[in-house]
């Protein structure tokens, strides 16, 4: 099967996955008790007649299937509808939030990947130094310390205690925390891959030819380990949704995570559905691209 055909089939699978996610989210959010009209009524200024009329106005009194049909029809035409809470286009809210999330994800990924790859490479170059232990420690850090705990600790230490950083809308702490988390996830498996590859026959030949260790790692080891990095990158990006959400909420960053969190709190169905769909589309796209990249990089996967 050609690469183009594989890509097409992969895309079709991902589209079906997206449709499944859209249906699941639509149904799941309606299981949670209460809706946006309950939210509006919390302050107590809506009587039962007004509540019923508002539900009718917002289309919340229709059956779930009817609501889904209307929503899906609009989404297929590129219209995510209006926020029930703010009465403004969902697309505007998402467009305002996307740059923050992409910025946070890009910076954290760049920092994490650079640190993880650099550390793993250096640990192979200097196996008798402290670096291999650092790789282990970073991996343990990443597994054992939840990012929200580190976020809170960072606020207490650097913002409240030392007064170096603001609490609200600062990027340094979330980028560093997410980046360290990513580095920990990348460094360990990459280090293992590089160590294993270092025992291969062509590496022994390279050493016998007198190539420098740095040249061996950069020219012969790292390119072979790239598939691991690409595969991990796809998984990490998907996992970053959760991490970015907590960091955005904790540091008051106005991204998609904050938008989703607030929308769930306020039962703003169109916003929740659209944000989840955007997140899902992002993950699907990244996974699909990672899959294609792996096939392009590794001839064995094309057989």
């Amino acid at each position: 099967m050609s690469l183009a055909m594989r890509a097409g089939l992969g895309l079709a699978r991902q589209a079906m996955l997206l449709a499944g996610i859209a249906i699941a989210v639509f149904l799941l959010i309606r299981i949670v008790p209460g809706d946006v009209v309950d939210s509006m009524a919390l302050e107590g200024s809506l009587d039962e007649e007004a509540i019923a009329q508002l539900r009718a106005d917002l289309g919340l009194d229709a059956g779930t299937l009817t609501q889904f049909g209307i929503w899906a029809g609009r989404v297929l035409q590129g219209d995510f509808g209006n926020s029930l809470r703010f009465d403004m286009p969902v697309a505007d809210l998402i467009l305002a939030a996307v740059p923050t999330t992409i910025g946070l994800a890009t910076l954290a990924l760049a920092f994490g990947m650079a640190l993880g790859i650099g550390l793993a490479t250096a640990a192979v170059l200097w196996p008798r130094s402290v670096l291999p232990a650092l790789v282990e420690a970073l991996n343990l850090w990443s597994i054992a310390l939840p990012t929200f705990c580190l976020g809170l600790g960072s606020i207490l230490l650097f913002s409240v205690g030392l007064g170096w950083l603001p609490v609200i809308e600062q990027w340094l702490s979330p980028v560093a925390i997410l980046g360290l988390d990513i580095a920990g996830q990348v460094a360990k498996p990459l280090h293992e891959d590089l160590k294993e590859a270092a025992t291969a026959a062509h590496i022994r030949t390279a050493r016998a030819k007198g190539l420098s260790p740095a040249r061996i790692v950069l020219r012969h080891l790292l390119p072979n380990a790239l598939t691991t990095v690409v595969a991990l990158g796809g998984l990490i990006l998907a996992g970053m949704i959760g991490g970015a959400l907590t960091m955005e909420v904790l540091f008051g960053l106005p991204g998609l995570g904050t938008l989703a969190f607030q929308a769930v709190s306020g039962r703003d169905y169109p916003v929740i559905q659209a944000v989840v769909l955007v997140f899902a589309a992002g993950v699907v796209l990244v996974n699909w691209l990672a899959d294609l990249a792996q096939r392009a990089l590794d001839p064995r996967l094309r057989r």
Binding site: G34, D38, L42, L46, A50, G163, I168, L250
Partner: protein, 512 residues
């Protein structure tokens, strides 16, 4: 406990006739405005002031009202410089203040006020003004400075509720449907709004009160559920609401100052009154539950030294609070033996009796569960988020609901929630009692204040006798500001701009 005035409403009719001497004379000569105040209160859900159903804390800085709830809870003139009420209590004639400009530079007229009242009456569903608007017979603007509101029957809370009839220029974008860019008369203009994130309001240079506002702009943080005490301590915020649980850490910080709102939040346990299940439909069982309440311990737990115990929805010291009724509170202290005796008398075996409790996810709600478990009931406690609890309360398939409710512009806004057709009645168990309604309706229609008080107290006595709800106590909400803020003090309600204080009076810099 805050020092709430004894005579909450007695003065407002007397005051109304006199032009207001606004407390700005000293400010007029003060330094030029400077700095951006960074504050966090409750949110902003809509740019259309007439359609808001939530907090008034944010929108009140860019739109104003005919009347204002002053620090002492009285009603004072605001965009109206004075008013007169006809002897039968039906006709309200307001004189519109001269020299008030909208943010587009145009002068405010009585016709603008009339247009806003008409819009609220005809287009807005819900809101505290929905009931009085149904009683409006005529809205007139006979000349540029006079606005007349004629009611079908006397409506006592009207002046207080007009403190939430926001005056917006009819040329504001979206007036016919939903206002997108409100043009108000407030000290700050409607600037950049990012829902759930922030709202930036720059100062209005032509504001009608000389010398105000004192800051160049206000930046509201609209982020929900973040720990505002940390942002205050770090200096990211200048003024913010803070929970009682954070007061100790805030008080320990010398850079911060704690103040309290003038009206109170009150805590209560309600029974399911709309569809009560046995044995909680037996008044002896309700009494037994009330005897398990340790009110002093409860109030210490929720509000520390700021709390006060009572049995009424008005706080001690307020005009509609009654000392004799307070002194006669049978549940001022707990009596477990009496509680068990009452259950035996009612023939209830709590060990085989389920008790479903619905509440928010607040620690104080656990006290209800503990008290009922101590009595021996099989407790099922559904602690839900705000919206989930709201929905569940409306199902009336529960037995006990421990809740709290915040400050209001008028005592009627507390009583109305217990009326048969009242808004959001779930917190009070969905009471439907024609006699209670009759007493409250009578209080609302009473022109004489003493008669109004008598009827409200009679209604409350009935609610207590029937054990619809058991009030535990009151405490004012803490508001914290950094010490570099001068001129700020919290008001009676959540509103952050009022005739005698608020954000327009606040400035950054050394205190004079």
């Amino acid at each position: 406990m805050t020092d709430v005035p004894l005579n909450l409403l007695r003065r407002h009719l007397l005051l109304g006739g006199a032009a207001l001497a606004l407390p700005t004379a000293a400010i007029a000569q003060s330094a030029p405005r400077a700095g951006t105040l960074k504050v966090a209160f409750l949110g902003l859900d809509t740019a259309d002031p007439h359609r808001h159903t939530g907090s008034i804390a944010v929108q009140q800085v860019f739109v104003e009202t005919l009347t204002s709830i002053a620090d002492d809870g009285t009603v004072k003139p605001f965009l109206a410089s004075s008013w007169e009420i006809s002897p039968d209590g039906k006709r309200y004639t307001f004189t519109i203040r001269e020299g008030v400009r909208f943010h587009n530079g145009r002068l405010l007229t009585a016709e603008d006020v009339r247009a806003n009242a008409v819009r609220v009456r005809d287009q807005v569903r819900g809101g505290w003004l929905s009931t009085p608007m149904k009683l409006v017979e005529a809205l007139e603007a006979p000349d540029a400075r006079t606005f007349v509101m004629t009611m079908k029957e006397p409506y006592g809370p009207l002046l207080n509720l007009l403190s939430e009839l926001w005056i917006v220029a009819p040329e504001s974008e979206g007036w016919a449907q939903t206002i997108r860019q409100p043009i108000g008369t407030g000290p700050f203009r409607f600037g950049r709004w990012q829902p759930n994130v922030s709202f930036h309001a720059p100062a209005f240079a032509q504001y009608w009160q000389p010398g105000l506002p004192r800051a160049e702009a206000v930046e509201f943080s609209l982020r929900d559920d973040s720990d505002l005490s940390l942002a205050l301590r770090a200096g990211d915020l200048h003024i913010a609401r803070v929970g009682y649980d954070k007061l100790a850490s805030v008080r320990a910080d010398p850079a911060l100052e704690v103040q309290f709102m003038k009206d109170t939040t009150w805590w209560f346990w309600s029974f399911n009154n709309r569809n009560p299940r046995a044995p909680f439909n037996d008044i002896r069982v309700r009494q037994a539950v009330a005897y398990m309440l340790d009110k002093p311990a409860f109030m210490r737990f929720v509000a520390g030294d700021a709390g006060v115990v009572t049995n009424q929805m008005a706080a001690p010291g307020q005009f509609f609070w009654d000392k004799a009724m307070h002194d006669a509170d049978a549940h001022a202290t707990p009596n477990e033996d009496r509680a068990r005796a009452l259950l035996r008398e009612a023939g209830v075996n709590p060990a085989s009796t389920p008790c479903r409790i619905v509440s928010w996810q607040s620690p104080y709600t656990e006290i209800a569960g503990q008290a009922m478990r101590k009595l021996g009931f099989q407790v099922e406690h559904l602690a839900l988020d705000d919206i989930g609890a709201q929905r569940r309360l409306g199902q009336y398939d529960w037995d006990l609901a421990p809740f709290a409710s915040g400050p209001r512009a008028d005592i009627f806004l507390r009583f109305v929630r217990m009326m048969s057709d009242g808004p959001n009645p779930g917190l009070w168990g969905g009471t439907r009692d024609a006699e209670f309604d009759r007493l409250v309706d009578g209080a609302v229609a009473a022109v004489d204040l003493d008669e109004r008080r008598r009827l409200y107290l009679a209604a409350w006595q009935r609610a207590m006798d029937k054990y619809y709800t058991v009030v535990i106590g009151h405490a004012p909400e803490p508001i914290v500001n950094r010490r570099e803020v001068s001129g700020y003090s919290p008001g009676f309600t959540w509103g952050q701009h009022r005739v005698d204080g608020g954000l327009a009076f606040a400035a950054l810099g050394a205190r004079g």
